[in-house]
Protein backbone atom coordinates (compact mmCIF):
# COMPACT_ATOMS: atom_id res chain seq x y z
CA UNK A 1 0.00 0.00 0.00
CA UNK A 2 2.67 2.48 1.11
CA UNK A 3 5.04 1.38 -1.61
CA UNK A 4 2.44 2.07 -4.25
CA UNK A 5 1.90 5.58 -2.92
CA UNK A 6 5.62 6.31 -2.97
CA UNK A 7 5.98 4.86 -6.43
CA UNK A 8 3.14 7.00 -7.72
CA UNK A 9 4.63 10.08 -6.17
CA UNK A 10 7.99 9.37 -7.74
CA UNK A 11 6.44 8.79 -11.14
CA UNK A 12 4.27 11.88 -10.82
CA UNK A 13 7.08 14.21 -9.88
CA UNK A 14 9.76 12.47 -11.91
CA UNK A 15 8.19 12.58 -15.35
CA UNK A 16 7.97 16.37 -15.69
CA UNK A 17 11.50 16.74 -14.37
CA UNK A 18 12.66 14.17 -16.87
CA UNK A 19 10.87 15.93 -19.71
CA UNK A 20 12.38 19.28 -18.78
CA UNK A 21 15.81 17.70 -18.59
CA UNK A 22 15.30 16.13 -21.99
CA UNK A 23 14.27 19.49 -23.43
CA UNK A 24 17.29 21.15 -21.85
CA UNK A 25 19.86 18.69 -23.20
CA UNK A 26 18.29 18.10 -26.60
CA UNK A 27 18.03 21.82 -27.27
CA UNK A 28 21.35 22.76 -25.69
CA UNK A 29 23.25 23.12 -28.97
CA UNK A 30 20.28 23.85 -31.18
CA UNK A 31 21.08 26.14 -34.09
CA UNK A 32 17.53 26.01 -35.42
CA UNK A 33 16.30 29.60 -35.20
CA UNK A 34 12.82 28.43 -34.14
CA UNK A 35 13.90 26.06 -31.41
CA UNK A 36 16.47 27.89 -29.33
CA UNK A 37 18.17 26.23 -26.35
CA UNK A 38 16.00 26.08 -23.21
CA UNK A 39 18.74 27.95 -21.41
CA UNK A 40 18.38 30.93 -23.75
CA UNK A 41 14.60 30.83 -23.32
CA UNK A 42 14.88 30.85 -19.55
CA UNK A 43 17.39 33.71 -19.61
CA UNK A 44 15.07 35.74 -21.83
CA UNK A 45 12.17 34.79 -19.60
CA UNK A 46 14.01 36.20 -16.62
CA UNK A 47 15.10 39.32 -18.50
CA UNK A 48 11.72 40.03 -20.02
CA UNK A 49 9.24 39.20 -17.33
CA UNK A 50 11.13 39.28 -14.03
CA UNK A 51 10.54 42.11 -13.41
CA UNK A 52 11.07 44.38 -16.32
CA UNK A 53 7.65 44.19 -17.87
CA UNK A 54 5.93 42.70 -14.89
CA UNK A 55 3.96 45.73 -13.92
CA UNK A 56 3.44 47.27 -17.35
CA UNK A 57 2.47 44.10 -19.16
CA UNK A 58 1.79 41.12 -16.93
CA UNK A 59 -0.30 42.99 -14.38
CA UNK A 60 -2.07 44.90 -17.13
CA UNK A 61 -3.10 41.70 -18.87
CA UNK A 62 -4.14 40.00 -15.66
CA UNK A 63 -6.11 43.04 -14.55
CA UNK A 64 -8.09 42.99 -17.80
CA UNK A 65 -8.57 39.26 -17.49
CA UNK A 66 -9.97 39.38 -13.98
CA UNK A 67 -12.11 42.45 -14.52
CA UNK A 68 -13.62 41.01 -17.69
CA UNK A 69 -14.11 37.62 -16.11
CA UNK A 70 -15.73 39.09 -13.00
CA UNK A 71 -18.19 41.09 -15.08
CA UNK A 72 -18.95 38.01 -17.17
CA UNK A 73 -19.48 35.85 -14.09
CA UNK A 74 -21.88 38.22 -12.35
CA UNK A 75 -23.79 39.12 -15.50
CA UNK A 76 -23.84 35.52 -16.73
CA UNK A 77 -25.33 34.18 -13.52
CA UNK A 78 -27.79 37.06 -13.29
CA UNK A 79 -29.00 36.86 -16.87
CA UNK A 80 -29.03 33.09 -16.58
CA UNK A 81 -31.39 33.23 -13.62
CA UNK A 82 -33.76 35.63 -15.31
CA UNK A 83 -33.71 33.58 -18.49
CA UNK A 84 -34.32 30.31 -16.70
CA UNK A 85 -37.10 31.59 -14.47
CA UNK A 86 -38.98 33.67 -17.03
CA UNK A 87 -39.84 31.36 -19.94
CA UNK A 88 -40.78 34.11 -22.43
CA UNK A 89 -37.39 35.71 -21.84
CA UNK A 90 -35.77 32.37 -22.46
CA UNK A 91 -37.66 31.73 -25.66
CA UNK A 92 -36.79 35.19 -26.86
CA UNK A 93 -33.05 35.21 -26.31
CA UNK A 94 -32.18 31.51 -26.56
CA UNK A 95 -31.62 31.40 -30.33
CA UNK A 96 -29.68 34.67 -30.25
CA UNK A 97 -27.45 33.41 -27.48
CA UNK A 98 -26.64 30.19 -29.28
CA UNK A 99 -26.03 32.14 -32.45
CA UNK A 100 -23.63 34.52 -30.77
CA UNK A 101 -21.91 31.64 -29.04
CA UNK A 102 -20.92 30.10 -32.36
CA UNK A 103 -19.03 33.19 -33.41
CA UNK A 104 -15.37 33.06 -32.51
CA UNK A 105 -14.81 35.76 -29.90
CA UNK A 106 -11.66 36.76 -31.72
CA UNK A 107 -13.66 37.59 -34.83
CA UNK A 108 -15.67 40.06 -32.80
CA UNK A 109 -12.62 42.05 -31.69
CA UNK A 110 -12.47 44.15 -34.89
CA UNK A 111 -16.14 44.99 -34.47
CA UNK A 112 -15.58 46.07 -30.89
CA UNK A 113 -12.69 48.23 -32.01
CA UNK A 114 -14.86 50.02 -34.48
CA UNK A 115 -17.63 50.45 -31.94
CA UNK A 116 -15.77 51.29 -28.74
CA UNK A 117 -12.19 51.94 -29.74
CA UNK A 118 -9.07 50.06 -28.75
CA UNK A 119 -8.42 51.12 -25.17
CA UNK A 120 -8.76 49.13 -22.00
CA UNK A 121 -12.55 49.32 -22.22
CA UNK A 122 -12.48 47.48 -25.52
CA UNK A 123 -10.33 44.73 -24.08
CA UNK A 124 -12.42 44.33 -20.95
CA UNK A 125 -15.66 44.50 -22.93
CA UNK A 126 -14.60 41.86 -25.40
CA UNK A 127 -13.36 39.60 -22.61
CA UNK A 128 -16.56 40.07 -20.63
CA UNK A 129 -18.89 39.64 -23.56
CA UNK A 130 -17.20 36.52 -24.88
CA UNK A 131 -16.93 34.97 -21.42
CA UNK A 132 -20.54 35.73 -20.57
CA UNK A 133 -22.12 33.00 -22.67
CA UNK A 134 -20.65 29.83 -21.17
CA UNK A 135 -21.61 30.91 -17.66
CA UNK A 136 -25.04 32.01 -18.72
CA UNK A 137 -25.84 28.83 -20.61
CA UNK A 138 -24.54 26.68 -17.78
CA UNK A 139 -26.65 28.64 -15.29
CA UNK A 140 -29.80 28.10 -17.32
CA UNK A 141 -29.01 24.39 -17.72
CA UNK A 142 -28.22 24.12 -14.03
CA UNK A 143 -31.46 25.70 -12.90
CA UNK A 144 -33.53 23.70 -15.31
CA UNK A 145 -32.01 20.45 -14.10
CA UNK A 146 -32.66 21.12 -10.42
CA UNK A 147 -34.63 18.08 -9.43
CA UNK A 148 -38.36 18.40 -9.07
CA UNK A 149 -38.09 16.59 -5.78
CA UNK A 150 -36.12 19.44 -4.26
CA UNK A 151 -38.57 22.00 -5.57
CA UNK A 152 -41.43 19.94 -4.13
CA UNK A 153 -39.70 19.93 -0.76
CA UNK A 154 -39.36 23.69 -0.99
CA UNK A 155 -43.06 24.01 -1.71
CA UNK A 156 -44.22 21.58 0.95
CA UNK A 157 -42.25 23.47 3.57
CA UNK A 158 -43.48 26.73 2.07
CA UNK A 159 -40.14 28.43 1.45
CA UNK A 160 -40.50 31.99 0.20
CA UNK A 161 -39.53 32.91 -3.35
CA UNK A 162 -36.32 34.51 -2.15
CA UNK A 163 -35.45 31.47 -0.06
CA UNK A 164 -36.17 29.24 -3.01
CA UNK A 165 -33.81 31.19 -5.27
CA UNK A 166 -31.03 31.70 -2.75
CA UNK A 167 -31.22 28.53 -0.70
CA UNK A 168 -32.36 25.94 -3.18
CA UNK A 169 -31.88 26.94 -6.82
CA UNK A 170 -28.55 28.71 -6.49
CA UNK A 171 -26.73 26.00 -4.51
CA UNK A 172 -28.32 23.21 -6.52
CA UNK A 173 -27.23 24.79 -9.80
CA UNK A 174 -23.78 25.66 -8.44
CA UNK A 175 -21.91 22.65 -9.83
CA UNK A 176 -23.07 23.44 -13.35
CA UNK A 177 -22.50 27.15 -12.87
CA UNK A 178 -18.95 26.38 -11.86
CA UNK A 179 -18.24 24.28 -14.88
CA UNK A 180 -19.63 27.15 -16.93
CA UNK A 181 -17.36 29.57 -15.10
CA UNK A 182 -14.40 27.35 -15.85
CA UNK A 183 -15.13 27.48 -19.57
CA UNK A 184 -15.67 31.23 -19.25
CA UNK A 185 -12.26 31.58 -17.68
CA UNK A 186 -10.67 29.77 -20.60
CA UNK A 187 -12.52 31.95 -23.08
CA UNK A 188 -11.56 35.06 -21.13
CA UNK A 189 -7.93 33.99 -21.30
CA UNK A 190 -8.11 33.48 -25.05
CA UNK A 191 -9.82 36.80 -25.67
CA UNK A 192 -7.37 38.53 -23.37
CA UNK A 193 -4.58 37.46 -25.69
CA UNK A 194 -6.53 38.18 -28.85
CA UNK A 195 -7.59 41.62 -27.72
CA UNK A 196 -3.96 42.58 -27.24
CA UNK A 197 -3.16 41.95 -30.84
CA UNK A 198 -4.56 45.37 -31.65
CA UNK A 199 -4.23 48.72 -29.92
CA UNK A 200 -1.36 49.78 -27.69
CA UNK A 201 1.05 46.88 -27.84
CA UNK A 202 1.15 46.32 -24.12
CA UNK A 203 0.36 43.03 -22.48
CA UNK A 204 1.73 39.52 -22.56
CA UNK A 205 -0.17 38.53 -25.66
CA UNK A 206 0.96 41.59 -27.58
CA UNK A 207 4.57 41.10 -26.61
CA UNK A 208 4.54 37.45 -27.57
CA UNK A 209 2.98 38.18 -30.92
CA UNK A 210 5.47 40.96 -31.52
CA UNK A 211 8.33 38.61 -30.68
CA UNK A 212 6.99 36.19 -33.25
CA UNK A 213 6.66 38.84 -35.94
CA UNK A 214 10.16 40.09 -35.41
CA UNK A 215 11.57 36.57 -35.24
CA UNK A 216 12.76 36.85 -31.64
CA UNK A 217 11.99 33.21 -31.11
CA UNK A 218 13.52 32.97 -27.65
CA UNK A 219 11.30 35.85 -26.56
CA UNK A 220 8.31 34.17 -28.13
CA UNK A 221 9.04 30.92 -26.29
CA UNK A 222 9.43 32.88 -23.08
CA UNK A 223 6.02 34.44 -23.69
CA UNK A 224 4.42 31.08 -24.40
CA UNK A 225 5.99 29.73 -21.23
CA UNK A 226 4.68 32.67 -19.22
CA UNK A 227 1.18 32.30 -20.67
CA UNK A 228 1.28 28.60 -19.86
CA UNK A 229 2.39 29.25 -16.31
CA UNK A 230 -0.27 31.91 -15.84
CA UNK A 231 -2.96 29.67 -17.28
CA UNK A 232 -1.82 26.93 -14.95
CA UNK A 233 -1.82 29.17 -11.89
CA UNK A 234 -5.16 30.80 -12.69
CA UNK A 235 -6.63 27.35 -13.14
CA UNK A 236 -5.25 26.21 -9.80
CA UNK A 237 -6.65 29.30 -8.13
CA UNK A 238 -10.02 28.61 -9.65
CA UNK A 239 -9.90 24.96 -8.61
CA UNK A 240 -9.18 26.00 -5.03
CA UNK A 241 -12.18 28.30 -5.05
CA UNK A 242 -14.29 25.58 -6.56
CA UNK A 243 -13.12 23.04 -4.02
CA UNK A 244 -14.13 25.41 -1.27
CA UNK A 245 -17.52 26.37 -2.62
CA UNK A 246 -18.43 22.94 -3.95
CA UNK A 247 -16.94 20.81 -1.20
CA UNK A 248 -20.33 19.19 -0.72
CA UNK A 249 -20.60 18.29 -4.38
CA UNK A 250 -17.08 16.96 -4.75
CA UNK A 251 -17.51 14.94 -1.56
CA UNK A 252 -20.80 13.46 -2.65
CA UNK A 253 -19.37 12.51 -6.04
CA UNK A 254 -16.39 10.86 -4.44
CA UNK A 255 -18.70 9.03 -2.07
CA UNK A 256 -20.86 7.82 -4.94
CA UNK A 257 -17.80 6.46 -6.68
CA UNK A 258 -16.31 4.77 -3.66
CA UNK A 259 -19.56 3.21 -2.45
Amino acid sequence: MRNVAIRNWVIGAGTPVLLLAAWWFLSANSADPFFPPLETILIRFQELWLFDHFQSDVLLSLGNLFLGFAIAAVAGIGVGFVTALVPPARWMIDPLIHFLRGIPPVALVPIFISLIGFGTQMRVTSIALAALFPTMIATVDGIRSVSNDLMDVARVYRLSRKERVLNVLLPAAMPQIFSGLQVSLQVAFIVMIASEMLGSSQGIGAMTLLAQQSFMTADMWAGILLLGVIGFLVNILFSLLKRKVLSWYIGSRRMARAA
Partner: protein
Amino acid sequence: MSARQVPVLPTRNRKSTMAQQPETRISATTPRLDVAHLAKTYGSGDKSRTVIEDLTFTVDAGEVVCIVGPSGVGKTTLLKCLAGLHPASSGRAAIDGRTISGPPPEMALVFQDYNRSLMPWLTVRKNLVLPLRHLKLPPAELKERCDSALAAVGLSHADNQYPWQLSGGMQQRVAIARALAYRPEILIMDEPFASVDAQTRFDLEDLCLKIRNDFNMTILVVTHDIDEAVYLADRVVVLGSRPARVLKVVDVELPAPRDQITTRSLPEFARQRTEVLSLIKRPA
Protein backbone atom coordinates in the same frame (compact mmCIF):
# COMPACT_ATOMS: atom_id res chain seq x y z
CA MET B 1 -29.99 3.74 18.13
CA SER B 2 -32.20 4.52 21.01
CA ALA B 3 -35.46 5.61 19.50
CA ARG B 4 -37.25 3.67 22.20
CA GLN B 5 -35.90 6.09 24.76
CA VAL B 6 -37.24 8.99 22.78
CA PRO B 7 -36.62 12.32 24.46
CA VAL B 8 -39.95 13.94 25.01
CA LEU B 9 -40.67 16.35 22.19
CA PRO B 10 -41.80 19.58 23.83
CA THR B 11 -45.33 20.66 23.09
CA ARG B 12 -45.49 22.78 20.04
CA ASN B 13 -46.01 26.49 20.35
CA ARG B 14 -47.34 27.17 16.92
CA LYS B 15 -50.98 28.20 16.76
CA SER B 16 -53.00 25.12 16.24
CA THR B 17 -56.67 24.79 15.64
CA MET B 18 -56.40 21.37 17.19
CA ALA B 19 -54.80 22.44 20.39
CA GLN B 20 -57.31 25.19 20.83
CA GLN B 21 -60.32 23.05 20.20
CA PRO B 22 -59.62 19.91 22.16
CA GLU B 23 -63.23 18.80 21.88
CA THR B 24 -62.82 18.08 18.18
CA ARG B 25 -60.03 15.67 18.85
CA ILE B 26 -62.22 12.72 19.43
CA SER B 27 -65.13 13.83 17.36
CA ALA B 28 -65.54 11.50 14.43
CA THR B 29 -68.03 13.79 12.74
CA THR B 30 -65.52 16.39 11.48
CA PRO B 31 -62.74 14.40 9.88
CA ARG B 32 -59.36 16.09 9.93
CA LEU B 33 -58.64 14.97 6.39
CA ASP B 34 -61.47 14.35 3.97
CA VAL B 35 -60.90 12.77 0.56
CA ALA B 36 -64.08 12.69 -1.50
CA HIS B 37 -64.38 11.31 -5.05
CA LEU B 38 -60.82 12.40 -5.72
CA ALA B 39 -59.58 11.81 -9.28
CA LYS B 40 -56.21 12.58 -10.82
CA THR B 41 -55.29 12.44 -14.48
CA TYR B 42 -51.77 13.15 -15.68
CA GLY B 43 -51.33 14.98 -18.98
CA SER B 44 -54.11 15.89 -21.35
CA GLY B 45 -55.50 14.89 -24.71
CA ASP B 46 -54.19 11.66 -26.23
CA LYS B 47 -51.44 11.26 -23.72
CA SER B 48 -53.64 11.66 -20.69
CA ARG B 49 -53.51 8.96 -18.11
CA THR B 50 -55.96 8.56 -15.27
CA VAL B 51 -54.10 7.31 -12.23
CA ILE B 52 -56.79 7.84 -9.60
CA GLU B 53 -60.43 7.62 -10.59
CA ASP B 54 -62.69 7.94 -7.58
CA LEU B 55 -61.15 7.77 -4.15
CA THR B 56 -63.06 8.41 -0.95
CA PHE B 57 -61.89 8.04 2.64
CA THR B 58 -61.39 10.15 5.74
CA VAL B 59 -58.76 10.47 8.42
CA ASP B 60 -59.78 11.64 11.86
CA ALA B 61 -57.70 13.87 14.06
CA GLY B 62 -55.09 11.94 16.00
CA GLU B 63 -55.54 8.85 13.89
CA VAL B 64 -52.81 6.82 12.23
CA VAL B 65 -53.93 5.58 8.82
CA CYS B 66 -51.82 3.37 6.59
CA ILE B 67 -52.24 3.08 2.85
CA VAL B 68 -51.20 -0.14 1.14
CA GLY B 69 -51.45 -1.19 -2.46
CA PRO B 70 -49.40 -2.51 -5.35
CA SER B 71 -46.48 -0.62 -6.83
CA GLY B 72 -47.50 2.02 -9.35
CA VAL B 73 -51.13 2.12 -8.28
CA GLY B 74 -50.97 5.81 -7.41
CA LYS B 75 -50.13 6.05 -3.72
CA THR B 76 -47.48 8.70 -4.17
CA THR B 77 -49.79 10.55 -6.53
CA LEU B 78 -52.50 10.56 -3.86
CA LEU B 79 -50.13 11.95 -1.24
CA LYS B 80 -48.96 14.68 -3.61
CA CYS B 81 -52.56 15.72 -4.13
CA LEU B 82 -53.09 15.82 -0.37
CA ALA B 83 -49.93 17.90 0.07
CA GLY B 84 -51.20 20.39 -2.48
CA LEU B 85 -48.37 19.70 -4.91
CA HIS B 86 -50.66 18.49 -7.67
CA PRO B 87 -54.15 19.85 -8.18
CA ALA B 88 -56.86 17.22 -8.11
CA SER B 89 -58.53 16.65 -11.51
CA SER B 90 -61.93 16.30 -9.92
CA GLY B 91 -63.45 15.59 -6.53
CA ARG B 92 -61.74 17.17 -3.58
CA ALA B 93 -59.41 16.74 -0.66
CA ALA B 94 -59.98 18.93 2.37
CA ILE B 95 -58.39 19.68 5.71
CA ASP B 96 -60.86 20.62 8.43
CA GLY B 97 -63.35 21.32 5.67
CA ARG B 98 -61.05 23.67 3.72
CA THR B 99 -60.35 22.39 0.23
CA ILE B 100 -56.62 21.90 -0.34
CA SER B 101 -55.39 24.13 -3.14
CA GLY B 102 -51.72 24.61 -2.21
CA PRO B 103 -49.36 23.22 0.40
CA PRO B 104 -51.33 23.54 3.67
CA PRO B 105 -49.30 25.13 6.49
CA GLU B 106 -50.22 22.50 9.07
CA MET B 107 -48.87 19.61 7.03
CA ALA B 108 -45.44 18.11 6.46
CA LEU B 109 -44.53 15.45 3.92
CA VAL B 110 -41.75 12.87 4.05
CA PHE B 111 -40.95 11.96 0.46
CA GLN B 112 -40.46 8.48 -0.92
CA ASP B 113 -37.20 9.53 -2.62
CA TYR B 114 -35.60 10.55 0.63
CA ASN B 115 -32.15 10.69 -0.94
CA ARG B 116 -33.36 13.25 -3.45
CA SER B 117 -35.35 15.30 -1.01
CA LEU B 118 -32.41 16.32 1.17
CA MET B 119 -30.28 19.28 0.11
CA PRO B 120 -26.84 17.79 -0.52
CA TRP B 121 -25.08 21.09 0.11
CA LEU B 122 -26.43 21.44 3.64
CA THR B 123 -25.37 19.50 6.70
CA VAL B 124 -27.96 17.42 8.47
CA ARG B 125 -28.69 20.19 10.96
CA LYS B 126 -28.95 22.85 8.29
CA ASN B 127 -31.34 20.63 6.37
CA LEU B 128 -33.55 20.64 9.42
CA VAL B 129 -33.22 24.39 9.87
CA LEU B 130 -34.02 25.35 6.26
CA PRO B 131 -37.82 25.05 6.44
CA LEU B 132 -37.86 26.58 9.93
CA ARG B 133 -36.26 29.85 8.84
CA HIS B 134 -39.43 31.52 7.77
CA LEU B 135 -41.14 30.67 11.05
CA LYS B 136 -38.74 33.19 12.64
CA LEU B 137 -38.35 31.18 15.81
CA PRO B 138 -36.08 32.39 18.64
CA PRO B 139 -32.63 30.79 18.23
CA ALA B 140 -32.92 28.77 21.40
CA GLU B 141 -36.12 27.14 20.29
CA LEU B 142 -34.73 26.52 16.82
CA LYS B 143 -31.80 24.67 18.32
CA GLU B 144 -33.98 22.81 20.75
CA ARG B 145 -36.34 21.62 18.04
CA CYS B 146 -33.51 20.30 15.88
CA ASP B 147 -31.79 18.65 18.82
CA SER B 148 -34.87 16.80 19.94
CA ALA B 149 -35.87 15.75 16.43
CA LEU B 150 -32.38 14.39 15.75
CA ALA B 151 -32.33 12.61 19.09
CA ALA B 152 -35.73 11.11 18.33
CA VAL B 153 -34.40 9.42 15.18
CA GLY B 154 -31.10 8.55 16.83
CA LEU B 155 -28.92 10.86 14.77
CA SER B 156 -27.66 13.37 17.35
CA HIS B 157 -24.09 12.42 16.53
CA ALA B 158 -24.48 13.03 12.80
CA ASP B 159 -25.73 16.61 12.85
CA ASN B 160 -22.62 18.06 11.21
CA GLN B 161 -22.40 15.49 8.46
CA TYR B 162 -23.69 15.87 4.95
CA PRO B 163 -26.53 13.64 3.78
CA TRP B 164 -24.33 11.84 1.27
CA GLN B 165 -21.98 10.83 4.05
CA LEU B 166 -24.77 8.79 5.62
CA SER B 167 -26.11 5.36 4.81
CA GLY B 168 -29.49 5.13 3.08
CA GLY B 169 -31.30 4.34 6.30
CA MET B 170 -29.75 7.31 8.04
CA GLN B 171 -30.77 9.65 5.21
CA GLN B 172 -34.29 8.44 5.50
CA ARG B 173 -34.23 9.24 9.19
CA VAL B 174 -32.94 12.74 8.47
CA ALA B 175 -35.95 13.33 6.24
CA ILE B 176 -38.20 12.14 9.07
CA ALA B 177 -36.38 14.36 11.58
CA ARG B 178 -36.90 17.35 9.31
CA ALA B 179 -40.62 16.75 9.35
CA LEU B 180 -40.59 16.28 13.13
CA ALA B 181 -38.69 19.52 13.73
CA TYR B 182 -41.28 21.31 11.64
CA ARG B 183 -43.92 20.16 14.16
CA PRO B 184 -46.76 19.69 11.71
CA GLU B 185 -50.24 18.82 12.86
CA ILE B 186 -50.61 16.38 10.02
CA LEU B 187 -47.67 14.22 9.02
CA ILE B 188 -47.72 12.37 5.74
CA MET B 189 -45.01 9.82 5.01
CA ASP B 190 -44.35 7.90 1.79
CA GLU B 191 -42.68 4.55 2.50
CA PRO B 192 -40.63 6.15 5.24
CA PHE B 193 -38.94 3.07 6.65
CA ALA B 194 -38.13 1.23 3.43
CA SER B 195 -34.36 1.47 3.72
CA VAL B 196 -33.73 0.94 7.39
CA ASP B 197 -32.84 -2.31 9.10
CA ALA B 198 -35.35 -4.27 11.11
CA GLN B 199 -34.33 -2.93 14.53
CA THR B 200 -34.34 0.71 13.46
CA ARG B 201 -37.60 0.16 11.67
CA PHE B 202 -39.21 -1.07 14.84
CA ASP B 203 -37.83 1.91 16.72
CA LEU B 204 -39.18 4.33 14.14
CA GLU B 205 -42.58 2.65 14.13
CA ASP B 206 -42.75 3.09 17.85
CA LEU B 207 -41.55 6.71 17.54
CA CYS B 208 -44.41 7.25 15.13
CA LEU B 209 -46.96 5.96 17.61
CA LYS B 210 -45.34 7.98 20.37
CA ILE B 211 -45.53 11.35 18.61
CA ARG B 212 -49.13 10.62 17.73
CA ASN B 213 -49.86 10.17 21.42
CA ASP B 214 -47.72 13.05 22.65
CA PHE B 215 -48.93 15.64 20.17
CA ASN B 216 -52.18 14.19 18.97
CA MET B 217 -50.61 14.34 15.51
CA THR B 218 -52.61 12.98 12.59
CA ILE B 219 -50.42 10.58 10.61
CA LEU B 220 -50.84 9.06 7.16
CA VAL B 221 -48.30 6.44 6.10
CA VAL B 222 -47.85 4.65 2.79
CA THR B 223 -46.09 1.33 3.18
CA HIS B 224 -45.38 -1.91 1.31
CA ASP B 225 -45.04 -3.85 4.53
CA ILE B 226 -48.37 -5.24 5.58
CA ASP B 227 -47.21 -6.22 9.04
CA GLU B 228 -46.10 -2.68 9.52
CA ALA B 229 -49.43 -1.31 8.33
CA VAL B 230 -51.36 -3.48 10.73
CA TYR B 231 -49.00 -2.75 13.61
CA LEU B 232 -49.11 1.02 13.14
CA ALA B 233 -52.57 1.82 11.96
CA ASP B 234 -55.92 2.51 13.44
CA ARG B 235 -57.23 1.91 9.97
CA VAL B 236 -55.65 0.47 6.83
CA VAL B 237 -56.79 1.78 3.45
CA VAL B 238 -56.22 -0.93 0.86
CA LEU B 239 -55.91 0.43 -2.68
CA GLY B 240 -56.25 -1.73 -5.72
CA SER B 241 -56.60 -1.99 -9.49
CA ARG B 242 -55.81 0.76 -11.95
CA PRO B 243 -57.05 3.47 -11.91
CA ALA B 244 -56.70 3.36 -8.15
CA ARG B 245 -59.74 2.81 -5.98
CA VAL B 246 -60.30 1.83 -2.38
CA LEU B 247 -60.70 -1.94 -2.10
CA LYS B 248 -61.51 -1.78 1.57
CA VAL B 249 -60.83 0.19 4.68
CA VAL B 250 -59.82 -2.32 7.36
CA ASP B 251 -60.38 -1.22 10.97
CA VAL B 252 -57.53 -2.54 13.06
CA GLU B 253 -58.67 -3.51 16.51
CA LEU B 254 -55.55 -4.17 18.49
CA PRO B 255 -55.05 -3.11 22.13
CA ALA B 256 -53.71 0.36 22.67
CA PRO B 257 -50.11 0.40 23.88
CA ARG B 258 -48.70 -1.63 21.04
CA ASP B 259 -45.47 -3.52 21.46
CA GLN B 260 -43.30 -5.04 18.78
CA ILE B 261 -43.03 -8.46 20.38
CA THR B 262 -46.38 -8.94 22.08
CA THR B 263 -48.67 -7.16 19.64
CA ARG B 264 -47.22 -8.99 16.67
CA SER B 265 -47.72 -12.37 18.31
CA LEU B 266 -51.42 -11.78 19.04
CA PRO B 267 -53.74 -14.07 17.07
CA GLU B 268 -55.81 -11.00 16.19
CA PHE B 269 -52.70 -9.48 14.56
CA ALA B 270 -52.29 -12.57 12.41
CA ARG B 271 -55.96 -12.43 11.47
CA GLN B 272 -55.82 -8.79 10.47
CA ARG B 273 -52.66 -9.18 8.41
CA THR B 274 -54.12 -12.21 6.66
CA GLU B 275 -57.21 -10.16 5.82
CA VAL B 276 -55.17 -7.35 4.27
CA LEU B 277 -52.94 -9.86 2.54
CA SER B 278 -55.80 -11.72 0.95
CA LEU B 279 -57.26 -8.41 -0.26
CA ILE B 280 -53.99 -7.61 -1.96
CA LYS B 281 -53.25 -11.10 -3.21
CA ARG B 282 -56.37 -11.51 -5.27
CA PRO B 283 -55.63 -11.52 -9.00
CA ALA B 284 -55.42 -8.04 -10.51
